[in-house]
Amino acid sequence: MSAGHTARLYVPGDSPLHRLAPEAKLVAVIAFVIAVAVTPREAVPAFAIDAAIVIVAMAVAGFGPRLVLVRLAVVLPFITFAFLIPFIAGGEQVEVLGVSLSREGLWGTWNIIAKAALGASASLLLAGTTPIPEILSGLGRLRVPPVLVAIVSFMFRYLDVIVDEMRLMRTAMTARGHDPRWLWQAKPIASSAGALFVRSYERGERVHASMLARGFTGTMPQLEQRRATGREWAAAAVVPTIALCAAIGGIILT
């Protein structure tokens, strides 16, 4: 069995952020991301405030700078195109190191990178301090329809199992000399994807049978669990409130 691909994002710990109720964290992260998204790009001090909040939160959660930087690298592929904007955008040009760049384009690049980094940091804080089962139960308490929560929960439960099956098939192919380098050698991969689909479908049927055997009637049972207290909501609200104030300040002043 694998060590669990989906559990890797969680960083075990016992900080106040780890202990905070998951639904409060979820709402705080979403509100923070919205506040960052509506902040005007010219409001650089507002972004500085947002970054300061995130850095403080990471210190509280006990995340080291190395961990954060490695994980933030995830957004790199998505923002590479942002670096092209200054070269292709029109409008007023400025000289940087002898290269003529668009002023408008530079602001565009800054806007994408700053917002992507802040948004990704907030989500990695959530994922790093909250195990997946807690995020799921938090979604349930936020009144996300049980069927959606169940679908996400099954996805996480079986993702590892399916990835393991895929790896076993790849190992079996490699063991028999399969070493694809060119597109026309992709046929075994395509057919193994088909086999994987059929296997997963059959597993779905067996899981459903085992659910029926334990009295499943079509709706997931709702289990009562600890709800977020008023204090937890208030504590979680601090982060997005500051970010929102910074955003409003930015809108007024720029």
Binding site: F154, F156, R157, R206, A209, S210, L212, R214, G215, E224
Partner: protein, 256 residues
């Protein structure tokens, strides 16, 4: 309480492609009895098990569990009474944590709050898995998964426990722990297996299934001593295993 814990009367099952798996199969199991269902791969053992709680619809014959007949309106009650432990624990453990998985069955029965917690704790305790409660099922070892799968079923307080190939994929120590666990449970058990020493150790009585029919029914040691019967039904004892000697060992718990 009725006379038998489980009564199967002449059930037959044919797959849509015409392949006949069960052929007028009948079997009675008494309360508190532990019985092994033996047969080679493809004998219809799993198909038979899926009939006991109505996962597969009856095509012919009748099933009665603890005096309750298997018909559509009794389906919920039957599924509570028949605890089914599937062959692959990954198919059985589908919730994010062990605790939620064990709670799934009793919560479907309508239990909530303290009653539910008590049921879950009791089931985990009876398989010695309290320490696993907050773990994710896919991070458990094979033996732990099997024990938790049994707990998910025990939490429903069934009348009959049906185990489909419980020893498959277990290492010898895991197999030993499973045998001790099943031995400690007093409820009626139907153990589907082709692990003959396991059957001999746990079950005084065995039935042999072949081509969807019961071809032998009796004392487990007598059946395993019948080389002709075993050979005719593709059943094999491990090399050097003597069922008589194993049963007659003075420190053995097996009693005929």
């Amino acid at each position: 309480m009725s006379a038998t814990a489980l009564s199967v009367d002449g059930i037959s099952f044919t797959y849509p492609d015409g392949h006949r798996v069960l052929d007028a199969l009948s079997l009675d199991v008494d309360h508190g009895e532990r019985i092994a269902l033996l047969g080679p791969n493809g004998a219809g053992k799993t198909t038979f098990a899926l009939h006991l709680n109505g996962i597969l619809e009856l095509q012919a014959g009748a099933v009665t569990v603890d005096g309750i007949e298997l018909v559509d309106r009794n389906l919920g009650e039957i599924r509570r009474k028949v605890g089914m432990v599937f062959q692959n624990a990954d198919d059985q453990l589908f919730m994010p944590t062990v605790r939620e998985d064990v709670a799934f069955g009793p919560a479907n029965l309508g239990l909530r709050g303290d009653d539910l917690d008590a049921r879950v704790d009791g089931a985990l305790r009876s398989v010695d898995a309290e320490a696993l409660a907050d773990r994710a099922p896919h991070h458990l070892s094979g033996g732990e998964k099997r024990r938790v799968a049994i707990a998910t079923v025990l939490a429903m307080e069934p009348a009959v426990l049906v185990l489909d190939e419980p020893t498959s994929g277990l290492d010898p120590a895991g197999r030993r722990e499973l045998a001790d666990l099943l031995d400690s449970l007093t409820l009626t058990q139907l153990v589907i297996t082709h692990d003959l020493p396991f059957a001999l150790e746990l079950c005084p009585r065995s039935v042999v299934l072949s081509d969807g029919r019961v071809v032998a029914d009796g004392d487990t040691a007598d059946l395993l001593d019948d080389a002709e019967l075993l050979a005719a039904n593709r059943l094999e004892l491990p090399f050097g295993f003597d069922p008589r000697a194993a049963r007659d060992r003075p420190d053995d718990e097996v009693s005929a």
